[in-house]
């Protein structure tokens, strides 16, 4: 006789078979066998115990026999990792029971703030992505893998440099001066996502510390988007939360060894171009003639810069810049478990070259995840990741002595080498080959992310967990500029060495109560209360030296002059939180949470912040009247509102009045006032409302998930500009507000599902509208002091302010701009907002097709409506000439003679009457100074982000080899991109080190096209 017993909703069912019991002299013999329902594997070592302490354990095949007194009514059965079960003895020959695993994950259970929740009842807006979905895309950084995979999550690589910075935003930019990055949590460890490479590499966020994690170790990723989901993280949650769970072993499973190897090649889809020496000469002559005419001089009387341009040679710098870049990836992982413990060991090696020389990225990772039941009720464990990264770093973007700038700026008739074979340089630029051959900047990171926890089951459903978490990120940078590159020429060799330690320590206690009760499990409670103490300690030590005996000596100790510095800081955060969710009848869920945070960063009068949230869920498909409609297989409505906070991105001592040191003179230490006190400084707060609907129709063929949200962030941590006469330029205050509202739609379609052929399509699209609702005054910034970006009340962040070019006058060849205030001249007041870098919408479309042993996956990513400021055209396609700076082919389309229709004005360097609209001065310098809207381009694109084809080699081929599976695959990323953007690649953010200057393209490494082949073998 068998009986199925349902247990807690948050766990996996387990079959527990008990056979034959019969009476024998006042005793009965109970016989049975234990297996796991999902896999059918026997459970060994389970304790079978009566209340008078007679006990036995199950055998390896899960079977047991126990003889008990016939007055015994109950047998208590327990096994490590499973919920306790009380078997009621009846006069039955066989017992079959289903028990519940404590922590194995169900399909519909996901990790949310400090606990797990059943997907069905979650009131918050949450996306969950399995690691399997991510393995199809080659990238060293898991955040980049999420591009286009999760609605509401905007992911964009800042450049094509491997291990480089990624822009990652959940539902838009919430802040101006404080951080806009989400909180990342890996296996419960709050991790540091701040770039800690300090070597100047141009305007980009140089590196992403999240590249320290091997994507192949990831089991799944959950992204919390709305206030109901994030409020529990209080002052850390406003920008969304990304929870990463890494792989674990399973109890009672045989060890599995899996090996994965892949090799790839990457290339640029489009390369930089130049014009010939002769064309350059013609353009420069033309400018000289035009300038003379503008100045009222007879052009015939001037000396042309190049009397005969046809003799000018052409040197190609661009081809030396790119390479066919190699990448390699090796992974080994071992996972399994005994009856009391589970383990996962992952080892990985990853090496990627940048397509632009000489950057590269290398990573070695080692992970161990281990859980052990010390007793039935006490579990301890650790999730530990060690990694070492190595980066060959090179400067680009806005640095004139960066590799790309040194190749694209010089005029093409300037030789690359001098007659004596040494490197030639022109103007402000270095020699690109000198840089490629001599740059010696490397950053080595050592990262430990680990937790150690103990979990105690107090009574069924009530658990206490305490954990100690560490994220230690050590970065060692060693840079040496020898005398063959500009940075080292004058100094006779220049070296610097930087050691940076960022230590995040967290201690966390959580008491969780999960219980279902009532006759038909009508009541379902999921509650928790806890606290954390978090400290962030940063220490930085650096040394530098100038003047080396030869290029071969690089140690700072050998430099002629040396200097050093060190700094350290500490910030603490104390938090208490509670959350409860109650579900009635599987239909209605009410959910509430509160968190209280106190931070050492804030003013003494305003240190504590409180972040409440509430949400409800209505599973309408459980209602009779909906079921009677016969339309919805699943229908659920969600709604939530709450507050979350933000305190990241401001300094640890931001609220104090300070006189800082280091203002030295005459080798004497000095101090100077640097910061005004703000005793009231506190969190910026995001209030978010979210309404969502999820439904499945046509027998779950189509599944929809739609969310509307409205986020209002107020009391911004804003550097409010102060009048200069105070001696301070800004004062950090809680002032200003930003709103983000939007719609997110995700659709999954199970098109075909047969034995041999399955085809699923997933699609998501997100619309976000950002608006600065309140700001003390305009903040203009970006483009190295050109202030092309602007933050202005009533407009979105990342807006561009330029002079709007209307046309190039076909008669005069001069550019004509919009005279906004109609005063008849072009002044600063005519500069206007002409667009912004935020897409109107973005999303992804994934198709996954399996036919027998073949799997084909292709993924399209798109975004629409964002603008890109093309700084390359700004410098190399304009209306003037400048010593030492060349042109690119588009310059040849300039206006030359009356009647020409073009948007590139006539070349001239005339500089009088700077305010004249349509005057020659504003073609290049003048009032406009080239800040023309013609450099602002549409950055919309649709890209075949990835195609992956894999083949599972039939078992018959290797049956004798003790191999479980062999999978061979080939992947291609960025095969094509459809865009109107004229630069190399529209996925670019050259000024990303400031969150308010998105959307610049400036000598940036483009996204590569990568072809990769790989093999995965499991033993």
């Amino acid at each position: 006789m068998s009986k199925i017993v349902k247990a807690l909703a948050t766990a996996v069912p387990l079959v527990f078979l008990v056979a034959n019991s019969f009476a024998q002299n006042g005793k009965i013999t109970v016989k049975g066998k234990i297996t796991e329902s999902t896999t059918g594997t026997p459970v060994a070592g389970a304790t079978i115990q009566t209340n008078n302490n007679k006990a036995t354990t199950s055998n390896d095949d899960g079977s047991f026999i126990i003889i008990v007194d016939d007055n015994i009514k109950n047998i208590h059965i327990s096994a490590v990792g499973y919920e306790n079960y009380y078997l009621k003895l009846r006069n039955a020959s066989e017992y079959t029971i289903q028990l519940v695993s404590e922590n194995s994950k169900l399909d519909d259970v996901i990790v949310t703030g400090y606990g797990t929740q059943n997907k069905k009842f979650i009131a918050g807006s949450i996306v969950n992505i399995s690691g399997n979905e991510l393995k199809e895309i080659p990238s060293s950084n898991f955040t980049q893998l999420l591009q286009g995979k999760a609605s509401g999550v905007q992911v964009s690589a800042n450049s094509g440099v491997p291990g480089g910075g990624i822009t990652f935003r959940v539902r838009g930019n919430n802040s101006i001066n404080a951080a806009v990055e989400p909180l990342y949590i890996i296996d419960g460890v709050f991790i540091n996502s701040n770039n800690n490479v300090q070597t100047g590499m141009g305007g980009q966020t140089q590196t992403s510390p999240l590249a320290d994690i091997s994507p192949s170790d990831i089991e799944d990723i959950t992204i919390l988007k709305d206030a109901n989901a994030t409020a529990i993280y209080g002052s850390l949650g406003a920008n969304g939360v990304v929870i990463v769970n890494t792989k674990k072993g399973k109890l009672n499973s045989k060890g599995k060894i899996s090996f994965n190897i892949s090799q790839g090649r990457s290339q640029a889809l489009k390369k930089f171009e130049h014009i010939t020496g002769e064309e350059t000469g013609i353009l420069v002559n033309e400018a000289a003639i035009n300038t003379a005419k503008d100045n009222g001089i007879d052009p015939a009387t001037i000396t042309l810069p190049f009397p005969d341009p046809s003799v000018l040679p052409t040197y190609d710098r661009n081809s030396g810049l790119f390479r066919n870049a190699k990448s390699a990836n090796y992974e080994l992982n071992i996972r399994g478990g005994s009856d009391k413990s589970t383990y996962y060991i992952g080892l990985g090696y990853n090496n990627e070259e940048s397509i632009v020389k000489p950057s590269g990225f290398e990573r070695i990772t080692a992970r161990i995840n281990y859980d052990n039941y010390v007793t039935k009720n006490i579990k301890i464990g650790t999730n530990t990741n060690f990694s070492r990264t190595y980066r060959n770093v090179s400067s680009n973007d806005n640095n004139p002595t960066g590799v790309i700038n040194s190749a694209i700026f010089p005029r093409s008739y300037v030789p690359i080498f001098n007659a004596d074979g040494t490197y030639n340089r022109a103007g402000s630029f270095d020699n690109h080959l000198a840089l490629i051959n001599n740059l010696d900047n490397n950053a080595v990171g050592w990262r430990t992310i680990s937790n150690l926890y103990a979990e105690i089951s107090i009574i069924p459903g009530l658990k206490f967990k305490s954990s100690f978490n560490i994220d230690n990120n050590d970065m060692f940078e060693n840079n040496y500029s020898n005398t063959l590159i500009v940075a080292g020429i004058a100094a006779k060799g220049s070296a610097s060495s930087i050691a940076n330690k960022a230590l995040y320590l967290t201690n966390e206690q959580v008491l969780t109560y999960v219980k279902r009760f009532g006759s038909k499990h009508t009541h379902d409670i999921n509650a928790l209360v806890g606290n954390t103490f978090n400290t962030v300690k940063i220490q930085n030590t650096s040394a530098s030296g100038q003047g080396f005996a030869t290029d071969n000596i690089k140690a700072i100790s050998d430099a002629a002059t040396r200097s050093g510095s060190s700094s350290r800081s500490e910030a603490n955060l104390i938090s208490y939180f509670a959350k409860a969710s109650y579900t009635l009848d599987n239909k209605y869920t009410l959910d509430a949470s509160i968190r209280a945070d106190a931070s050492s960063k804030f003013g003494v009068d305003n240190r504590w912040g409180y972040f409440p949230s509430a949400g409800f869920t209505w599973r309408a498909s459980e209602e009779k009247f909906i079921q009677n409609l016969n339309i919805f297989d699943e229908l659920k409505f969600r709604g939530s509102i709450g507050l979350s906070g933000n305190q990241n991105g401001i300094g640890p001592y931001a609220a104090l009045g300070l006189w800082s040191s280091g203002y030295n003179y005459l080798e004497t230490a000095g101090t100077a006032p640097t910061q005004l006190e703000n005793r009231n400084l506190t969190w910026e707060t995001t209030r978010q409302a979210d309404i969502g609907v999820e439904f499945s129709i046509l027998k779950k063929l189509l599944n929809f998930n739609i969310d509307f949200y409205n986020k209002y962030t107020y009391d911004l941590l804003l550097q409010v500009p102060t009048p200069s006469p105070t001696g301070f330029t800004s004062y950090l205050q809680n002032y200003g507000a930003v709103r983000n509202k939007g719609v997110e739609i995700a659709v999954t379609s199970n098109n075909i599902e047969t034995k041999d052929f399955t085809w699923t399509t997933t699609f998501n699209i997100s619309f976000n509208r950002n608006k600065i609702e309140k700001l003390a005054s305009d903040i203009a910034l970006g483009a190295s002091g050109r202030n092309v970006s602007i933050l202005r009340e009533g407009n979105p962040v990342n807006s561009f302010q330029l002079y709007k070019q209307l046309y190039v006058d076909p008669q005069t060849g001069n550019a004509v701009y919009e005279d906004v205030n109609k005063d008849g001249s072009i002044t600063a007041a005519d500069r206007q907002i002409v667009g912004n870098a935020n897409p109107n919408y973005f999303g992804g479309l994934t198709n996954n097709i399996t036919y027998k042993n073949f799997n084909l996956n292709f993924f399209l990513f798109f975004q629409q409506g964002n603008k890109i400021m093309n700084m390359r055209d700004f410098f190399l396609v304009h209306g003037g000439t400048q010593n030492f700076i060349g042109f690119i082919p588009r310059q040849l389309e300039r206006w030359q003679k009356p009647g020409d229709i073009t948007d590139i004005p006539r070349l001239t360097t005339y500089k009088s009457n700077i305010n004249e609209n349509g005057g020659a001065a504003n073609n290049y310098g003048g009032q406009v100074a080239s800040l023309s809207s013609r450099y602002l381009e549409d950055g919309s694109f649709l890209r075949l982000r990835n195609v992956s084809l894999s083949y599972n080699v039939p078992k018959s081929v290797y049956q004798s080899l003790k191999i479980q599976s062999i999978r061979a695959y080939v992947q291609a990323s960025n095969l094509f991109t459809i865009t109107n953007y004229k630069g190399l690649d529209p996925e670019v953010s050259a000024q990303s080190s400031n969150q308010n200057t998105a959307g610049y393209d400036w000598a940036t490494v483009p996204q590569p096209r990568t072809i990769l082949v790989g093999l995965n073998v499991t033993f």
Partner: protein, 451 residues
């Protein structure tokens, strides 16, 4: 099976752990940096008073190192833009928007200097520390008055009459309602501070890198020159020229060649390996490790290379052809070029101009020829006052080719229109920072006229 005792024990652990963090809470929330002082402890004893005046000099460095010499040169006819950064292009074109990085940076830095000086002036008198003698106290105060005077003078000549703040900024309330003064009021404040500094400062010691009585006289001579108070200008210039601590060095290039701090300098800010000045980087071509943003113009190249005009001052140039560059700032890689604030040559030319204006042509000509002769240029004879004044202007041009003079001189002598083509006099003053106009109600939304 649950045993009550065990259960209580576990709860106990939980409560205890929660408790630990709770009790130590307030202490953990009070963190302070190890590299800064709380404002209230900033000037309380001899050590902090000395550190504060040193900090004020560092603030002086911050705008005199690069911003001010750039503003005085690229805006005029001696230096042209040759880089990629628009802030220099804007200055070169005399199309300076209110958010020009360099004018904004200079304006803000000067007020930072003034706030440091104001703090010293406000708090040092209250320091009661036996280690701080009355003489030293006076000297620190005197320097603070001098530095404030210099700050307001540079603001005045660059931006016109400015807001005068004379106390330290303790909170943002101090700026409320402080309107702009006239240029006369600004210069009056400079004079008042110089008068105070003169009283407090001792006679000259050896140093040339901190303010001494002579520096006060020299700045006063310059102030009177700018205010066209010729007799006073002559009087104060003479006071410095008479001091044997200062003399014209020969050859010309000696003053800008290591080890610096020559007798030429009345006030020269010193730099070292620990306190670097990389201004040379803007002048040198990339083949020598520089950026080459600031390039000598064809006009000044031909003047300096002319033996009858530039003479020995041609040593301000190096390179050839299209790659001539300025070498006044030349400690390539060492980064120890001084900032030349006041040279004795300036006092001679101030006196020459002041004397010529007063009709003392012979004496004026003598001062002019002293400067010419030092540069190995033959003496000239000029008997016409206007021609002599023009010759003095020209001499200032070549003598201070790459120092913070040319633009201010052309504006002061009202020649910026004819020489530079900047005919709109509104553009003879730099704009106030954009953000000041937006954030300071006292400005009533108004920038300098024309901006």
């Amino acid at each position: 099976m649950i045993h009550n005792k065990q259960f209580k024990y576990k709860i106990g652990i939980a409560v205890f752990t929660l408790g630990i963090t709770f009790t130590s809470c307030s202490k953990l929330l009070e963190r302070s940096p190890n590299d800064a002082l709380a404002t209230k402890d900033a000037i309380i004893d001899a050590g902090t008073a000395r550190a504060a005046i040193i900090g004020a000099y560092d603030r002086l460095q911050s705008y005199q190192t690069s911003d001010f010499p750039t503003l005085g040169t690229i805006t005029a006819d001696n230096v042209i833009f040759n880089g990629t950064l628009s802030q220099y292009l804007q200055l070169d074109q005399n199309a300076v928007p209110p958010d020009n990085v360099i004018t904004v940076s200079a304006y803000q830095s000067i007020y930072r200097l003034i706030n440091s000086a104001n703090s010293v002036i406000a708090y040092v008198p209250g320091v009661n520390d036996p280690a701080l003698s009355a003489t030293e106290k006076n000297s620190i105060l005197g320097e603070a008055y001098f530095l404030r005077a210099l700050g307001y003078f540079d603001l005045g000549r660059g931006w016109g009459g400015v807001q005068l703040l004379l106390g330290p900024t303790t909170d943002l309330g101090v700026i409320k309602g402080v309107k702009r003064s006239t240029i006369e009021q600004t210069y009056d404040q400079v004079l008042a501070d110089l008068t105070e500094a003169e009283k407090l400062l001792t006679d000259d010691a050896n140093t040339r890198s901190r303010a001494q009585k002579s520096a006060v006289y020299a700045l006063r001579a310059r102030l009177h020159l700018y205010r066209k108070q010729w007799a006073s200008a002559e009087e104060y210039a003479t006071k410095v020229i008479q001091n044997s601590k200062y003399e014209l060095v020969k050859p010309y290039k000696n003053f800008f060649t290591t080890p610096f701090q020559t007798k030429e300098s009345v006030l020269e800010l010193k730099y070292s390996a620990n306190d670097r000045n990389s201004y040379w980087n803007l002048w040198y071509p990339s083949s020598l490790g520089g950026q080459y943003t600031l390039k000598p113009s064809e006009t000044i190249i031909s003047k300096l290379n002319n033996p009858n005009i530039g003479g020995a001052r041609k040593t301000l140039l190096a390179g050839s052809g299209n790659s001539v560059y300025g070498v006044l700032y030349n400690t390539q890689g060492q980064n120890t070029d001084p900032a030349y604030l006041i040279r004795i040559a300036e006092l001679y030319l101030i006196r020459a101009e002041a004397r010529a204006q007063q009709g003392l042509l012979t004496l004026a000509l003598a001062d002019l020829n002293t400067i010419k002769n030092r540069a190995d240029v033959a003496s000239v004879t000029i008997t016409d006052k206007t021609l002599l004044l023009n010759a003095i202007d020209e001499e200032r041009n070549v003598e201070f080719a790459f120092e913070a003079h040319r633009w201010f001189d052309l504006v002061r002598t009202e020649k910026a229109g004819t020489v530079l083509g900047v005919t709109n006099k509104n553009f003879w003053l730099f704009p106030l920072p954009y953000q000041d106009v937006l954030s300071d109600p006292a400005l009533e939304g108004k920038n300098n006229p024309g901006y």
